[in-house]
Amino acid sequence: MKYKPIILLFIVGAMLSCTKDIDLKIPEVDRKIVIEGKIESGEYASVIITKSAPYFEPVDSSTIFEMGVFDATVVVSDGTTNDTLSFVLDFYQMPFYKYIGNSIIGEPGKSYSLEVFYDNEVYTATTTIPQIVELDSLAFKEETDLEVDSAGYLWFYFTDPDTLGNYYRIFSKTLGKDSVFVHPMASVSDDKNVNGEFIEYPVYRGWNPNLTQKQRDEEKEKLGDIPRWAFVRGETVIFKFCSIDAEHYEFWRTIEVQNTSDGNPFASPSSVYTNIQGGAIGVWGGYAVFQKIIQIE
């Protein structure tokens, strides 16, 4: 649930206001390198590299190619060994390629550095995979207000460790429905107010960001009365509960703040944090993953 003051533009606004298209002259800025890299415990590193685009440039088959970075050299290091990542195609995600590791597998409690060489520049970052925090349990709760009686949220339960400074990010994958792990709009949280406590929290099924609008509409139609965000009896869901470090959290938090403040005239524009050095933007983040499967009966 988000605080949306825009609804406060109530009666007068709704009845009298008018909207028109305007031309804004926005200065040309250089395209920046955008890095979206991660290393999960038990997995190889995976890095997507793209370029930013001028704000009003339409995204179509020709311009999207301009945004691609296909020939970078990407090196991940755990301090003792280096792993040069390979360029691979991946049609389950947007864009359809990534750089993937070959030798280093993420381990909780370890730090990993990233180096990206591209166009005579080098971009660097460091992240940590924290210790895994385990879930206590996972449960399905029906949402009684809905017209269909078999849909609802998943609730997860865990105890936050005693020390302050735990950050979490959550994902789910409904088998047969989601091709990738998806996350709710607010996917990260910290333990500022709940340090050391037993915590219960609901999660709904997020969007797969790689679907086109048409695919989304089709999915909605197929589901009929069942809300798209709901988990439904009979489904099997993999829930991924990740611990992340402070900078990694700050990146996703600012992304999510921007999502909610965009287009809100009463909010000030919010920039996204980056932990990449050297002039690129984006994130290099480690995940300590705890997975649990639930069969909703």
């Binding site: 649930m1 605080y3 003051p5 609804i7 406060l8 009666i11 007068v12 606004g13 709704a14 009845m15 008018c18 909207t19 028109k20 305007i22 804004l24 926005i26 200065p27 800025v29 920046k32 979206e36 793209t50 370029k51 930013s52 685009a53 001028p54 704000y55 009003f56 999207i64 945004m67 995600q93 947007m94 864009p95 207000d145 302050l164 400074g165 107010n193 609901p202 797969n208 960001p209 790689n210 679907l211 086109t212 609008q213 402070a246 900078e247 959290y249 700050e250 938090r253 703040v257 921007q258 909610t260 403040s261 287009g263 005239p265 009463f266 909010a267 524009p269 920039s271 996204v272 933007i281």
Partner: protein, 793 residues
């Protein structure tokens, strides 16, 4: 330190100035028909080349050598009285001034026009409630703050906003006081109306530069509003019916010529009128569950025990309530907010030269938001509450000195943003945790000194002490906002404290009968801060005290001006320049959301910086004749410097405005018809826009350009109003009431002024079809409104 003592000694020496064979003329200046005191009426002693004006309580005192004098008592809009006074000993005399009714003959008779423009202190502007009521209205509501915005150096925030900015200062840097009580949020309806009901207002004084030492606590300006006292002689009932609200005012004597009362109320009823239509239109049907109204009540009573003692009780209560419900009731929002102020004052006269005012004030502003949906409940509460005690003395030892000194104490309780929530079985409530308490003390001494007949100096010192006290919990932060420790403070334990001396000086030199030069320097400290996310004055804005993290705001202002009246004071003109610097300004950190306050100190989310502002203000006013009005133009620049915003690069403040022009005219065609026209033009607001975008997680992320580096299109608007009254005929017909009609048209040529800009995305990146267009939302098209005013005898 030594210079400070020297200044004090010099000040004190004036008290001891040998008075010789001097006598005092003192008393009150009142309105003849109602018996109400007149504030700022001028008492001029011919031959002494000097005079004085009545204080906020209508009191004056003049000390001159024994002799016979012609004393002129005048006040704008009233007939001047000339009194021949033989002063062999000190005497008391009260004067009663009569309103100047409009007839062409009388205008000629009262040839003596005010030269206040030339004589007054720099930076002070006075508006009468009458002037405000004659301006075109927005939806039938005459508005005090919107009238103030038409003066040079004063700007509105956004379309229709009742928030105001003075000479590049923020909205929190204006001291807004209603009968000595601080009003923290002076707007209704998300800023579209001010809380001051024009029916209840007697006087409006704005100080935008050269702030005297008896005002303090804010950097930029003082808006001092006095409520009507109520008719001392007869009962009066007055009402008005408007498009969106109705007003009713009752006043009259408690004991004739000794005490009176005034009570006025208004409530909007747009919610009641509009509700049935909402579900009928596609555009508005989502708002069918919406309700919105505001009301306010002003009440005042006073009693005069004698010419030596008088008490006043004033109160204001205003509330806005917004509600929203989805048709099936499963999501509800309710947002009430409002101000409450009450003040008790006691005037006492010691002899005929020392006037005392003792004030106690209670003032509170609070904002609440409650949301409910199924398993989820969310509440947000913020408030500021003040308990004030104040002694203020006016001592008039000779005709050349007017000394004001006093002490004040405020106990503040801040509750910046407490949150309560429930999610399933888990609930949370931060109430109490986030509260902050503070002692706010001031002592001041100010002297208005006429050095010669031409040259006067208004100078003073204000000493301030601010202390944040416990109970308080400080969350100690490491990088990325990680809390690493908590420090607890006991009740009344000092958390942080500050003390400062604020020198103030302004001077006026009269060049000749119709022109003068003025200059001022002031240094101010401000110990409370308004944290705001939006560009206007929103009810969600938070007040927080200075703390160990947030240093007091510090401001310097230098101003100078040339003032000239033309055609025997029929025209007033002035040119003023100012330069200001602001230190310890706050802004929210990038990426801040109101939820960050949960279980944290609100001051952990600020970045700090400085600012400066300079500008030139041109003013031309016509005071007399059927056509009156003014033209104000301001050319200015306001800049901010924050280390944590754009790496310390200067950026324009969001209320930086290069050009600001307002033209206000009022034309009395005859006794029945009055026309008014207002035109405003302003440079577009500075905003931050995205310059590039990129893809993360399959979604679009924006990269923003430099802070406030874009301008919205310019703002301009023309308003008209026509007032019709036929009192003469109603009198002839022996009617028991008088009516007047006002037709106002807001935004006559239907200018689509920008309110905000947003971006509309069409298509999606996944299918390679995304295009983006910029859209501008305009709030108010041409808006006619009509209101009826009824005055019962």
């Amino acid at each position: 330190m030594n210079t400070r003592f020297t200044i004090l000694l010099v000040l004190l020496s004036f008290f001891l100035e040998a008075s010789g064979q001097k006598v005092t003329l003192s008393g009150y200046v009142r309105e003849k028909s109602t018996g109400e005191e007149l504030v700022g009426a001028s008492i001029y002693v011919e031959g002494q080349g000097s005079g004085t004006i009545t204080n906020t309580y209508g009191f004056y005192s003049i000390t001159v050598p024994q002799g016979e004098y012609e004393v002129l008592i005048s006040f704008l809009g009233y007939k001047t009285i000339t009194d021949h006074v033989k002063l062999s000993k000190s005497i008391k005399r009260n004067y009663y001034l009569e309103t100047m009714a409009f007839t062409k003959d009388e205008v000629v008779i009262s040839a003596k026009k005010s030269d206040k423009n030339v004589r007054d202190n720099i930076g002070m502007v006075k508006l009468e409630a009458k002037t405000i009521k004659e301006l075109p209205t927005f939806m039938g509501e005459a508005d005090v703050v919107k009238s103030i915005q038409l003066l040079p150096g004063v700007q509105s925030a956004t379309e229709g906003s009742a928030g105001f900015y003075v000479r590049g200062g923020g909205p929190d840097q204006n001291l807004v006081i209603l009968d000595e009580a601080v009003v923290y949020n002076a707007s209704h309806l998300f800023g579209f109306f001010s809380v001051f009901n024009a029916d209840a207002v007697k006087d409006i004084n704005l100080i935008k530069g050269g702030m005297p030492a008896y005002y303090g606590g804010r950097l930029s300006s003082v808006l001092d509003i006095t409520m009507k006292e109520g008719n001392m002689r007869e009962y009066d009932l007055n009402g008005s019916l408007g498009l969106i609200s109705s007003h009713l005012t009752a006043q009259g004597p408690i004991v004739k010529d000794k005490g009176s009362f005034m009570i006025t109320g208004r409530r909007t009823y747009a919610d009641v009128l509009i509700k049935p239509f909402l579900p009928k239109f596609e555009r508005t049907k989502d708002f069918a569950g919406t309700g919105y109204y505001f009301y306010d009540i002003n009440a005042k009573a006073n009693y005069r025990f004698s010419d030596k003692d008088r008490i006043y009780l004033s109160a204001y209560l205003g509330k806005d309530v917004f509600t929203y419900k989805t048709p099936d009731d499963d999501f509800t929002v309710s947002i009430p907010w409002g101000n409450i102020t009450s003040s008790f004052r006691w005037n006492h006269l010691f002899g005929d030269k020392l006037f005392m005012n003792f004030t106690t004030v209670y003032s509170k502003y609070d904002f609440e938001m409650k949301m409910e949906q199924n398993d989820f409940e969310f509440g947000l509460y913020s408030s500021i509450e003040d308990y004030t005690g104040k002694f203020d003395f006016t001592y008039i030892p000779t005709i050349r000195h007017k000394v004001r000194f006093g002490v004040s104490y405020i106990y503040h309780i801040f509750e910046p943003s407490s949150v309560s929530g429930r999610l399933g079985q888990t609930s949370y409530d931060s109430k109490g945790v986030v509260r902050q308490y503070a002692n706010d003390c001031a002592i001041y001494l100010n002297d208005e000194f006429d050095l010669t007949e031409r040259w006067s100096v208004n100078y003073g010192l204000r000493g301030t002490y601010f202390q944040q006290v416990g109970p308080f919990e400080r969350y100690v932060k490491a990088e990325f906002g990680r809390t690493i420790d908590t420090v607890f403070y006991d009740p009344w334990e000092t958390v942080a404290d500050y003390k400062h001396i604020e020198p103030r000086i302004s001077s006026r030199y009269i060049l000749n009968k119709s022109s003068s030069l003025k200059a001022s320097f002031t240094k101010n400290y401000q110990y409370i801060h308004l944290a705001t996310l939006s560009s206007g004055s929103m009810p969600t804005d938070l007040w927080i005290p200075s703390s160990e993290k947030v240093k007091p705001q510090e401001g310097y202002q230098y101003s100078a001006g040339y003032f000239k009246n033309l055609k025997e004071n029929m025209y007033e003109t002035s040119v003023e320049v100012y330069y200001k610097t602001f230190i310890n300004q706050i802004e929210y950190k990038n990426g801040y959301t109101p939820a960050d306050n949960v279980g944290d100190n609100s001051d952990n989310y600020f970045v700090f910086g400085e600012g400066d502002a300079y500008g030139i203000e041109l003013f031309l006013k016509k005071n007399k004749g059927p056509l009156t009005g003014w033209i104000g133009y301001t050319l200015s620049k306001t800049t901010r410097y924050f280390d944590d915003i754009d790496f310390g690069e200067p950026f324009p403040a969001k209320y930086d405005r290069r050009h600001d022009l307002s033209i206000t005219t009022n034309y009395k065609y005859n006794e029945k018809w009055t026309f008014a026209v207002v035109f405003v033009y302003a440079t577009g607001n500075a905003i931050t826009l995205p310059v590039a975008r990129y893809i993360i997680d399959g979604r679009i992320v924006n990269e923003y350009g430099a802070r406030n580096s874009f301008r919205m299109p310019d703002y301009h608007r023309l308003d008209l109003s026509v007032t019709y009254q036929n009192h003469k005929k109603q009198k002839e017909l022996n009617k028991r009431y008088r009516t007047s009609w006002n037709l106002s048209v807001y935004n006559v040529y239907n200018r689509k002024n920008p309110y905000f800009i947003y971006f509309d995305n069409d298509g999606d990146i996944q299918s390679g079809t995304l295009t983006t267009t910029a859209k501008q939302v305009s709030l108010f098209p041409i808006l006619p409104s009509i209101s009826l005013n009824i005055d019962f005898e």
